[in-house]
């Protein structure tokens, strides 16, 4: 039984991008990723409680402490109901000054490719390579991102 559970978990892990994996060229082009630039890609949705907690912290971070020449934050909104996603983004813009690029993924094509194990999930990418993955709610995500960026530069 334990072996079966282990096999199931390994299969689950295999389908998701992990540290060191390369995303496809098509996906990199779809996301508009450039060479030699570090990307922080955050998957979120309006119905996800932890995303609602994390996103304002990431918004505040993007406004003040990120070198936009070297680093870009991209938000992927996976709301299947686009109008609800747009309304959520509008609220974020008004209340938290959201100003990083958001890609709407109502068909879930992008997130299906990344296949994270939970929501929200944050990926660090450079030259199509996954440098780190943060899955689920992370306390003080803003400080965590700053620390991670410092260690990756």
């Amino acid at each position: 039984m334990k072996t079966l559970l282990l096999i199931f978990l390994v299969i689950l892990q295999l389908s998701a991008y992990q540290k060191g994996d390369l995303i496809s060229e098509e996906m990199a082009a779809h996301l508009g990723l450039q060479k030699d630039k570090l990307y922080v890609i955050d998957f979120f949705a309006s119905w996800c409680g932890s995303c609602k907690k994390e996103i304002p912290l990431i918004c505040a971070l993007d406004n003040t402490k990120i070198d936009h020449i070297k680093v870009e934050i991209i938000g992927i909104d996976v709301d299947q109901k686009v109008d609800e996603g747009i309304a959520f983004q509008k609220r974020l813009k008004e209340e938290h000054n959201l100003n990083f690029r958001i890609i709407n993924d109502p068909q879930n094509l992008i997130i299906s490719d990344f296949a994270p194990l939970g929501m929200p999930t944050l990926y660090y990418l450079k030259d199509r390579k996954v440098l780190k993955v943060l899955t689920g709610a992370v306390d003080n995500i803003d400080k965590q991102i700053l620390n991670d960026l410092k260690s990756m530069e």
């Binding site: 949705a45 119905w47 996800c48 932890s50 709301d79 299906s112 194990l117 929501m119 929200p120 689920g136």
Partner: protein, 72 residues
């Protein structure tokens, strides 16, 4: 009895075809308040909560963390 075990196993295998895994990003409907027991009915929920905290002498902790997105 001996025939029952393989029969149950075969039934289980056949039924497993009906199971479709819900991915973390597909839990929008599951995260809705109405998906919780008595979630859509405020009066019923408050009544349930009242019974819970009067019996258990504790309040809260009955919700789904993170909106059912598999994050906690």
């Amino acid at each position: 009895m001996k025939q029952l075990i393989p029969l149950s196993l075969i039934t289980l295998v056949l039924l497993s075809g009906c199971v479709q895994e819900v991915k973390p990003w597909e839990k929008e409907t599951l995260a809705k308040e109405t998906m919780e027991p008595a979630g859509g009915n405020t009066l019923a929920r408050k009544f349930q909560e009242h019974i819970y905290f009067s019996k258990e002498a504790s309040k809260g902790g009955g919700g789904v963390a993170g909106g059912g997105c598999g994050c906690n």
